[in-house]
Structures are given as C-alpha cells and as structure tokens.
Subunit: 327 residues, 2 copies
C-alpha cells in the first residue's frame, strides 16, 4: 500500500481522503494541519492528525504528501519546503507563475532526492494534457478552452466584498454559439466576451441599493468588465438550497487541418462536467500521487508535471492488464 | 531533424507523408513498398522509393520507420521483422491479439536494442489513453466507447461481397439517446443495439433483387445481425459525389462518483470528429514517431504503447515551453 499524507484539511484535503478510500493500492497515513490538530475531525478511522509544524517528525509514515493549500500564498512557500522532506504533489494553478514555482520546487526536490509533481488537477492538469496531445497530433490548428458551467470562488469572493452584499455565488457559463462555432471546425476568432458569460446570485442586506451593487459588479475591473454579466438577487434560503454545491467543468477543443493541401478538418474535444470541483481535483491528485511514488521508486527526482507522467503510471492496473483490457 | 521512413504507401502511408510536412522537427527520408518502386509516385520531392525487400540496406537513412500495413496479415509479420532493423511504430488494431503482438515485437526489439511502439492511432490509441486517464482518476464508475458517425471499411467490404452489389458504404452511427443517457451520469446498461445503428448505401446491379440484398445485409452474422440497419440504394454518381470521403470519429465517456458516500457524479468525455480517418491516424503515428525517437535515444528499448509515453515526448516543444504555454 502506498502511504499518502494530506497537508491541509479543507475541501481539497477532504476530497483527497475520499479518493483514497476508492484506491485499492493506497491508504491515508497522516493528516497535517496548521489548526489545532485536536479540533480537526477527519472521516477515516484510526489515522492521526498532526500539527504541520511537526511534519518532519513523520516523514517515515508518508510515501507521498499531497499538499492541499491555496496557490496565492500557501503553495509557493509550502511545496518547496515539503519537497525537501517528502515526495509531494500540489495543485498550483497560478498559470503565469508556474515556471518560477517549478524552478523553486525542482531545486528543493533535487537536493533532497525527492520527486515533486506540481500543478495537478484539471486546469492546469487534465486540460493541459489535452492541449498538448491535441496540438502534438494536429500541429496546424487552433485550441480553445472554455470553462463552466461552474462556480468561480475568486469571483464569488470579489462580489462578497461589495458593501451591502451578504453572500454571493458566481457562475461562469460558456456561450453555446461560441462552442458550436468551434466544434464546426471553423476556427473562429473569439473575444473574451464572446466565449463566456457570468451569472451572479447575490443575497443583499434588506436596505441595500441593488442598482448600485449591480453596477459595482458588472463594471468590476479584471473580474467582470470584459464580460456580459447578469446579476440576480435572491434570499438566503434560496442560496442555501440551490447554490451550496461547487460544480464546475469545461471544454478543451482543438480543430486542426491535415492533408497535403490541409484540406481535411478534424475536431478533438475533451470535456468535464463536475458535481464537485474540489473532489474531482482531489481525485486527479491521488492518481498523480501513485505516479509520483512510482517515479520516486525509480529514482526520478526533481520537479515534474503531468506532461512528464506516462499514463500507465497513474493506474493501479499492471502494464499487462492495461494492454489487455484498455488498449 | 528526425528522419522518418514509411513502410507501405496506401492511404495511411500518404497520411504520414502529409503529417510529416507539418512537423518542424521531422522529415520524410524514405518510402518502402512491396509494389514496383518505379510505379509508386509520392508527393514529397527528392525522396527515394525503395523496394521493401531492400529495407535492410537503408537502415542508416531512417531514425524511425512507420509501418503502414494492415492488422490482419501485414503487421503481425512486418512489425517484429522490422523492429530488428529499425525503431518502429505501427497501428495494430486487432484488440484481442494485442498481448501476443506486443510479446513478439518486444522480443525482436529488445534483441536488437530498438524501440517499437505498437497500436498507435485513435482506437487503439487516443481512445485507449482516455480510458486509462478517466478510470485512473475516477476508479468508481463506468466507461463507454461510441464510434461514428463514420465509415467502417470492414463492413463496407462485407456488403460488397454480396451478389448483385457493385459498391457499398457502411456508416456506423452512435444513438443520440444512448449518448445523452451516458452524459447524464446515469451509467445505463446498454445493449449493442441500443448504442449504434448502421446505415448502408448500396449501388446494385440493374436487375438485382433489392429485397434479397437488403435481407442478406441486415441478417449478416457478426456484422449486422445485432444492429438496427438501414439500407439505401443509390446510383454510382451519388456514391461518388456524397460518399467518397473516409470520415470517422467517436466518443469515450466515463461517468464516475466521488465523495465519502459516492454522492457526487462527474462526466469525462473525449470525442473526435474526423474528416479523414487515415489522415488523423497518420498524424497520431507521426507524433508517436517523435516520442519513439526520443525513447530510443534514451536507451529505452523494447515494445511500448501509448500508455508508456509521457505526453511531453509527443510534442516538438521543449519541456520549458510546454510548462509556460500549455500548462
């Protein structure tokens, strides 16, 4: 059994715990938290919760540590730090800072002869893989990524900071006409506004000026100003009943042309429709943890990404089983 | 530049030639044929066509040989034979015989310190990859593969052998209701008949008994008897005008459940919509040839499949470029 540790027990950490329950060859061996360990109640019986400060005392209990922190401030600090102690996996998703994060983690992991896979999940992660596969096969063409329908935590949080807003939930929605145009193989040029719309549900204070709140939302720089945004005011009961889930998903579509005169068109599409964004992300991280363990056992130290993982490494099945049953 | 040879110059071989034209780091270096080389006209200027019998005289001209024969009789003999001389790629697609073919090719390639990737293409190939990725991420769930809408050469050939039939084209069509049920995450049990229908266009001799031909088609064992099949009689002109292409495609869909009580459902879908089945298959083979060359350079000899290829190996971009632009 591959012994997996979880660093940080929020939605993502709990998702990792659930995914491990479904993995025949892996088990949860320890949970680390920055909170008081006494107050963190996990689902798995018989597994210890330790203070993150004591992590280095427990390196023998963990084959791979899945770091479930946030990309803004946690992971840039945590992943290099723990890559010096454990084989690690993270879901770092600040696209622009990936080269810098990779370099930091690579240096730490190589110095400690550990294996570290960064930026697992679905985007970056499965979507990235599909971009690479499709572009490698069809070098002449265009790739499109659409997100949604799903909840964006960052956008929801931004709306919650507006004066008079009690709660908010923002859905990113791909535009059907844009998806259809891309699927037709026409390789359209699409603006930000043409690809996605935003839908915001707001619970406002009783005496709040709804027109002012709406105006603040739809004009918010970087978040909403480049999109067509719809704002709907609902009551707290409706918010709790209809919008407590964290669904997400999206589409990676490449259309490319082949033939001596590039006369034939092909459309490759990968899509996800997820009831729970954190649980799916966690499930990807657990499969990556399996591959991380195997790469570590094979002496492949340093930082890696999903691009470096042979697909067979992710599966509990043997190469023979995979060829017989899945090829 | 990676020097690529083509063994067998039919639809697939010509597709490889076209795909190489789009590859910045690869070039066609030789074509081998079992026909008279003088009579084989290729598209690329300045490249020699040799007799397949002379292949061993030209091993220095070729880094990777893409073998473009058929799975029934060509590849079981050709791939082990040429794996003793070259690094090779094939598109062996007789699913039930893959373990045997793998073993034969592995023995030949290992003995010669060559690298051989078998069963490239889209099914087996890209569809297989997506089955492995989706099942590794979502171990609890069901995977479905649908094919079409597309031309099945084997079924078209079978109809052409019926007395009174001049020409025929068989389309495999996935059933919309079945696709919708799978996409809903309901994980339905589907019979062969519920998943696909078959549509056959036939050009018959003037005095042929169309009712008898139709009956022979729809009751044909292993080919049509388990499907709802529609037969339409058309004239030769219509056949040539509307049915000269070789489109294909299909869907791999997995729905899986996560959460402590498996309460959340996720649907992962990969689909292809191809104007030209052989050209897309060829494009996959060329990307695999790039990976084959790299694995051979790294000393990884023996037989491999797409499951053993790290995605970055398929791309002409460097690992740094991939992380920066595609992750």
């Amino acid at each position: 059994m591959i012994k997996v540790g979880i660093m940080g027990y929020g939605n993502l950490g709990r998702g990792v715990e659930c995914a491990l329950k479904q993995s025949p060859d892996m088990e949860l061996s320890a949970v680390f938290t920055r909170r008081n360990p006494e107050e963190v109640k996990i689902l798995t019986e018989g597994v210890s919760v330790y203070s993150a400060d004591d992590a280095e005392k427990h390196t023998e209990e963990v084959d791979v540590l899945i770091i479930c922190g946030g990309s803004a401030t946690d992971l840039p600090e945590q992943t290099p730090k723990y890559a010096a102690l454990f084989n690690v996996v993270d879901s770092f998703d600040t696209h622009a800072r990936i080269p810098e994060h990779f370099a930091n983690v690579d240096a730490a992991a190589k110095a400690a002869c550990r294996t570290a896979v960064i930026s697992g999940g679905w985007d970056p992660g499965m979507f990235s893989l599909n971009r690479v596969y499709a572009e490698s096969i069809l070098p002449v063409g265009e790739t499109y990524t659409f997100w949604g329908k799903g909840v964006s935590q960052g956008h929801s949080d931004a709306v919650r900071r507006i004066d008079g807003v009690i709660d908010a939930r923002q859905y990113t929605i791909p535009v059907d006409e844009a998806l259809s145009a891309v699927r037709s193989g026409a390789a359209p040029e699409l603006s930000t506004r043409e690809k996605h719309t935003r839908l915001v549900y707001v619970v406002a204070e009783d005496d709040a000026d709804k027109a002012r709140i709406t105006e603040e939302i739809v004009t918010m720089k970087n978040y909403f100003d480049e999109y067509d945004t719809t704002v709907e005011f609902i009551d707290e009961e409706t918010m709790a009943r209809d919008h407590s889930g964290i669904p997400h998903g999206g589409f990676v579509i490449r259309s490319g042309r082949t033939g001596w005169e590039e006369e034939n068109t092909h459309v490759v599409e990968y899509s996800l429709q997820l009831d729970s964004n954190p649980e799916f992300t966690s499930s990807v991280l657990v499969a990556i943890a399996r591959a991380t363990y195997r790469m570590a056992e094979a002496g492949q130290s340093g930082a890696k990404t999903v691009f470096d993982i042979a697909p067979a490494q992710l599966s509990p099945k043997s190469p023979e089983e995979l060829r017989k049953a899945m090829l």
